[in-house]
Amino acid sequence: MTSAPIFAIADCNNFYASCERVFQPKLNGKPVVVLSNNDGCVIARSNEAKALDIKMGAAYFKIEQYAKQEGIAVFSSNYALYGDMSQRVMQILSSFAPRSEVYSIDECFLDFTGLPQNLTEYSLDICAIVKQWTGIPISIGVAPTKTLAKLANRLAKKGHSKHGPALDWRDIADPDAVLKTIALDDLWGISRRWKDKLNQLGIHHALALKQSDPKQLRQHFGVVMERIVTELNGISCIALEEMPAPKKQILTSRSFGERLTDYDDLRAAVTHFATRSAEKCRQQRLTTHVLTVFIHTSPFDTRNPQYSNSATIAFDRPTNDTAQLNAAAQQGLKRIFRRGFSYQRAGILLPDLWSANVAQLSLFDSGENNLRSDQLMTALDDINRKHGKRSVCYASEMLSKRWQMRQEFKSPSYTTNIKELLTVQI
């Protein structure tokens, strides 16, 4: 007999803010916010910052004065740090379950099916270990379905569990009474648009949704909604997806730290994006046979003329060679660049990717070039892995630095750069 499935989701609390606090413990208990790329707007808040009514997505220039006045610690996004800390947390979590699925940078589904333990105690142990080993506080929700596990986690975070950061849905005495208090868009997978549509059908909270006819809702919303309803009824139909589907496209694009008008500035940016795209391709063992390069001015800049354009270049055979991707990107940029505009963004899109294992050689291709390119790229990746990224890069990338992001408040990369380690005065 196989046991009924049991899922858990572990979710880091205020993850980005928590990462910063590990290395600056004096910020514990203090309001902390983290800003988006280019220090544009708030993308993470500690509970104390939430209590000061700092809104998610608030523009930094609008809250700057208030932040200073209230002593809010402000950080630029430090993805090297967050990525490393995430990996540590995930590595620890994955050792507590036979199967796990990294769901996002700060969330991980665990398969607890068949574990003989008291799962609340087990989850509390996991929370304590992750906190001690990494300094990151987490919450865990346990339930017979992923949808309910997400909900249990949410309730635990909001302090509805008498056991602190962990909550097993099955321990709730009257789950329907709880569901009645849950807004529809607080459920996993339900957007605000769907909520409005459900409201029109007379469904106003999670309990009403649970008691709806899944087949009927399927006609209005499709199979995803049917699954959510089924899962609310405790029947698991969203499995753990251990292997994410291979990516169908790679997009590398960024807003610039300042508006660019100069061709060389754009060349440098485009070279960087092409290099990154090629690296991503190789990491995932993919190749591309088309590359699109695009540039555009800011759509919000109403005083200056607007321009955007893109160019698509095809390769004779699928490639993930940086030199080839970069050459194509430069060729495309030359075609679409127009003088006299203030560019705000550029990017490279590889719209259709192939597995590197199934590439088709062209008639006149000896294969010799591929081997050489592959060896060169392996060497390039190895050097950059060992000595830090962009130790070796294409010269056109070095034409300008002006396109790089604004990161005025970035903390050191404490865990990934030996020159930026936490330094303790003793």
Binding site: Y82, G83, S86, R88, Q91, W133, K280, G388, T423, Q425
Partner: protein, 169 residues
Amino acid sequence: MSVISISSYQPRNTKPLNSAALWSDDLELPILEPKQQLSTIELPLFTSKVPAGFPSPADDHLESTIDLNQHCISNPPATFFVKVKGHSMTGAGINDGDMLVVDRSLRPNNNSIVVAVIDGEVTVKSLDTSTDEIWLRSKNPDYPDFQIKEGMELHIWGVVKNVIRSLPV
């Protein structure tokens, strides 16, 4: 007719996960296995002592290799590197500018060298719990010890496991 080499299309062994695989501008979420190898930098372990004269023929048969990471790091996700500035711990062999290997999963014992957080301030001291009182001791007579008193907040951030010092070469 030329033979087309297919070697470049064969999947290579997947590399062990390391932080350098994560890039700042976009994070790719990894698939994790419970046990991950830390590194592949290995140095040969010589089974005989280094003789001043003729090398031992036994060295033709190297027994195993040493990975310094495996030696210094027992729990990778809980291990952090920290640099120190200052001279208060010279008696414990920790000098200004040294790098410490700190394991947050280790339970501190009496006399453990710890990274401690006292009221939000980070320091490195020797933990003395031999009496009813808790002391954080400096290992240099020129520097004071700290007693943790009622109302102070002490948090042991991690336990120092190794000291790494670069010598002038």
